[in-house]
């Protein structure tokens, strides 16, 4: 009995500390601005409204920022997979290359973004990619950022495909590349999908590069920063809710991979 | 050391029966082997005894003390786990000393008892190693030492030989037997391997689906199996089981009709009707004088194993295995088992012995 009480109390405390902040931001997103400014603030919504979202979508910044975030996310997924798949395959098959790749990408994974963002900004100014309306510079930066994330997921997935299958395909007449394309990649499909989702999420959430490289043509994260600092709580909260949606969906899809440790960088 | 007693112990997991009405008295210093296929409830029995699970009903006593509601560490029960459960981060010495340490046995006494049991189990040379650096046999002995060092009232062993390779298994079996005799520690030994149960157990408990089928000495379990299940489980190969019909002193098996002696239990009880007849593979012989139940052998199935020769045959429409001693090159096409060697069981779910 005492044990059950402990579980209920502990579970409720954990759930509340996670859910309360989320509930508050959703409350602010769906209540009128006046209520968000009230003191003392309301814990439960007094009046529900979609006005904050209408304001957002009638602005210039939000549709543009949304478009930019989706564009950069999509492009980053494509470019990251293109670069990382061969590297991850090599790492899964050749232990010597794996050691060097692993070390390089661990460092890349923990490397401070600001130390790349500043020189990239200076570089992009010269190349005309800085603050680009199509966020081309940001796309390159996000690709660099996402490569390690994709690498560790893909390597885990490719390692699970036995090398004997590739060898058998070659004996059956496939070229080495054909064996990888027709046998290994289809079998590693779940991890490729997981890597794609993760990369999109990394780009969607990314704040530092977006803040530094896109000063006026802002994707959603710096736009939210700007709204939260200078805008109204209702519209900022509505934008936060919009940003939450794909993140929550993707994390739910990735849940099995997260639990297996492949995404936290803890697996080797 | 103490006797142990189980009285009507039951364990249910929702609707699933883990153990049903288990009653048993283990004498002080006795080794009882619990034998059965996986899922028969033998592991549940061990875990209930150890206190890792709680019985749904029933009582367990060690000596005079009722223990079924006590937490594991208050039961004075030690256990050797199937995979040994050695503490990987501790040396052999620390592993063996751990139960003493937890009971507040410190300093010189801890040292002396640890060293003593380690010497007794031939572990003196590896005391400072970690379990990861030991061979399978050594790990097994560390697990034994850790369980024995605190001189438990009851000693539990959960398939302790199943992780050893076949050759080592025979050695360790002998070793455990000798050790248990020497220390006279009351032991409950769980296994699915009948040769382990038969060679180690003072008595054998055969279990099936949570229920006890038979509790007896190894010889009695072999010679007088209490049910068709026990008959079909014990022996390598196990007893052949055939469908038969009893009518007024005559057994009909396939097309054969065998007259039962006047004092045969079936006749005495006048139990007419279908039944199951069991006959051990080694009960058959090629001696024409043997008479009784005849089997036709398929000579192409002959397997010469050296000390014995196995062959497959038929009694009516049913398959039997026949075992003849030594190397038999020219397998007889016709073998027979005497009527006295036939076991009779009820042809129902219980399969209870009739004779």
């Amino acid at each position: 009995m005492k044990r059950a009480l402990f579980h209920v109390a502990g579970g409720s405390a954990v759930a509340a500390s996670v859910l309360l902040p989320l509930a508050l931001i959703l409350k602010q997103a769906f209540t009128p601005e006046a209520e968000s400014f009230a003191w003392p603030p309301t814990w439960l919504p007094q009046q529900l409204t979609g006005a904050n979202f209408r304001v957002l979508f009638s602005s210039v910044e939000l549709p543009y920022g949304l478009q930019l975030s989706l564009l950069v996310g999509g492009l980053t997924v494509a470019s990251t997979l293109l670069v990382t798949l061969p590297a991850a395959w090599l790492a899964a098959r050749a232990p010597a290359a794996d050691r060097r790749l692993d070390a390089t990408l661990v460092i890349a994974r923990v490397f401070p973004s600001i130390a790349l963002a500043v020189p990239l900004a200076a570089l992009f100014v010269r190349l005309g990619l800085y603050n680009s309306p199509a966020a081309l510079g940001l796309w390159i930066a996000h690709t660099l950022l996402a490569i390690p994330f994709a690498f560790f997921v893909l390597r885990t997935g490719l390692r699970r495909v036995p090398v004997e299958l590739e060898e058998a395909a070659q004996l059956d007449g496939a070229t080495p590349l054909g064996a990888v394309l027709r046998v290994t990649l289809p079998l590693a499909w779940p991890s490729i999908a997981a890597a794609a989702l993760l990369v999109f999420l990394v780009s969607w959430d990314e704040f530092t590069y977006a803040l530094v490289l896109q000063v006026t043509n802002r994707p959603l994260p710096p736009l939210l920063y700007y709204f939260a600092a200078f805008g109204y709580p209702g519209t900022a909260s509505a934008l936060a809710a919009i940003m939450l949606l794909p993140a929550v969906v993707i994390i739910a899809l990735l849940a099995p991979a997260i639990r297996s440790g492949g995404l936290t960088g803890s697996g080797r | 050391m103490a006797a142990a007693e189980f009285d009507q112990v039951c364990k249910r997991y929702g609707d699933v029966v883990g153990l049903e009405g288990f009653s048993l008295r283990i004498a002080d210093g006795e080794l009882v082997a619990v034998l059965g296929p996986s899922g028969c409830g033998k592991s549940t029995l061990l875990r209930l005894t150890a206190g890792l699970e709680q019985p749904t009903s029933g009582t367990i006593r060690i000596g005079e003390r009722r223990i079924d509601a006590l937490p594991p560490h208050q039961r004075d029960v030690a256990m050797v786990f199937q995979n040994y459960a050695l503490y990987p981060h501790m040396t052999v010495r620390e592993n063996i000393a751990f139960p003493l340490r937890m009971r507040g046995v410190r300093g010189a006494e801890q040292q002396a008892r640890t060293t003593h049991i380690a010497e007794a189990l031939d572990l003196g040379a590896v005391l400072e190693r970690r379990p990861g650096a030991l061979s399978g046999g050594q790990r097994q002995r560390v697990a034994l030492a850790r369980a024995l060092v605190r001189e438990p009232a009851l000693f539990l062993m959960d398939e302790p030989l199943s992780n050893l390779d076949a050759r080592l298994r025979l050695d360790v079996r002998q070793y455990i037997r000798a050790l248990q005799r020497r220390l006279r520690v009351t032991t409950l030994y769980v296994t699915h391997d009948q040769s382990e149960a038969m060679t180690l157990g003072d008595r054998v408990v055969v279990m099936r689906a949570g229920r006890v089928q038979q509790v007896d000495t190894p010889a009695a379990v072999y010679e007088h199996p209490a049910s068709a299940f026990v008959a079909g489980f014990i022996g390598t190969p196990p007893m052949n089981l055939l469908h038969a019909l009893h009518t007024a002193g005559t057994l009909t098996i396939g097309a054969q009709r065998l007259a039962l002696p006047a004092d045969h239990a079936l006749r005495v009880r006048a139990a007419d009707g279908p039944l199951v007849v069991g006959v051990r593979p080694e009960a058959f012989s090629s001696d024409p004088a043997a008479g009784g139940l005849e089997a036709l052998i398929d000579p192409t199935t002959r397997e010469i194993l050296g000390s014995e020769t196995l062959a497959r045959g038929r009694v009516g429409g049913e398959a039997v295995i026949v075992r003849l001693p030594g190397v038999v090159r020219d397998i007889p096409l016709r073998v027979a088992a005497p009527v006295a060697a036939l076991h009779c069981f009820a042809d129902d779910a219980s399969g209870a012995r009739l004779t």
């Binding site: 590297a87 290359a97 639990r259 | -």
Partner: protein, 264 residues
């Protein structure tokens, strides 16, 4: 492939090195003039100090909370699976969303002070630049966001400890505390070490949390200092110089992490 990846990552770093060691006025290379300027800036030294202490405090909080959560959610009870999924949510949220939420909670007229007022306590200035409380708020918000990572690593490590080990210890006479001390903790040690190192290096990059919650000068860290130099003064060179200090620390801390992975 390795070479291509290395080039892709190395080129901007080399460019940063050139920026940091070039005198922006004369174009002279190599020059330490940028670092001399940083050395004279009190804000830079505050950033250095915070960049050492904030990650340390954050990792300690994450470790304690993450371990407690992992131990709690290793127990068997109804609703455990749902709670396990729930606990991971903060990490699933975009950082800037978390910070937006937290700002509304910790501003002067925010929910935290409303909760205090409800129980009759005075309001606190959770985010006042330079205050000790603001520092603590930054640590707590950062820990709230990333503790799930620690939790997941430790939960997996706990699941990797065979149940028999705990059962054997129970039979050997160990109560819950003794089992934690003599079994769980030592067996968890490698995972704890890996998690602390991983999170430690990761935490060095702390940027948005202090920037969004307290502004550039509130709780400065090296990343926000570099951003400040670049964005407010247009000083590429000073920004690159400060960012390189951080990069160096990050690579240096990666070495034991890599050793650990080699050993694994």
């Amino acid at each position: 492939m390795v070479a291509l990846l290395a080039t892709l990552l190395a080129y901007p770093v080399l460019y940063a090195v050139r920026l940091a060691f070039t005198d922006p006025l004369t174009g002279h290379f190599p020059s330490l003039v940028n670092y001399a300027q940083l050395g004279r800036d009190a804000l830079f030294w505050r950033a250095v100090r915070n960049n050492a202490l904030l990650p340390l405090a954050s990792v300690v909080v994450e470790l304690v909370v993450g371990l407690a959560l992992a131990l709690f959610l290793s127990r068997r009870f109804p609703g455990r699976a749902a709670l396990r999924a729930l606990v991971v949510i903060p990490f699933a949220l975009p950082e800037i969303v978390v910070l937006t939420i937290m700002r509304y909670i910790f501003v002067r007229r925010g929910y935290a002070n409303a909760a205090l007022a409800a129980v009759g306590w005075p309001a606190l200035d959770w985010l006042t630049p330079g205050s000790a409380l603001a520092w603590i708020t930054v640590v707590l918000v950062d820990a709230w966001h990333v503790t799930p990572v620690m939790f997941l690593i430790l939960l997996a490590a706990l699941a990797g400890i065979p149940a028999e080990i705990g059962e054997a210890a129970q039979l050997d006479g160990a109560g819950p505390l003794a089992r934690f001390r003599y079994m769980t903790l030592p067996l968890l040690r490698p995972a704890l070490l890996a998690a602390v190192l991983l999170r430690g290096v990761d935490a060095l990059r702390i940027f948005a949390t202090p920037l969004v919650l307290t502004g550039v000068e509130g709780v400065p860290v090296l990343s926000s200092y570099a951003y400040h130099q670049w964005s407010d003064y247009g000083n590429d060179a000073a920004a690159a110089a400060a960012a390189l200090v951080l990069a160096l620390a990050s690579v240096a801390l990666s070495v034991p992490l890599l050793r650990l992975r080699e050993a694994a």
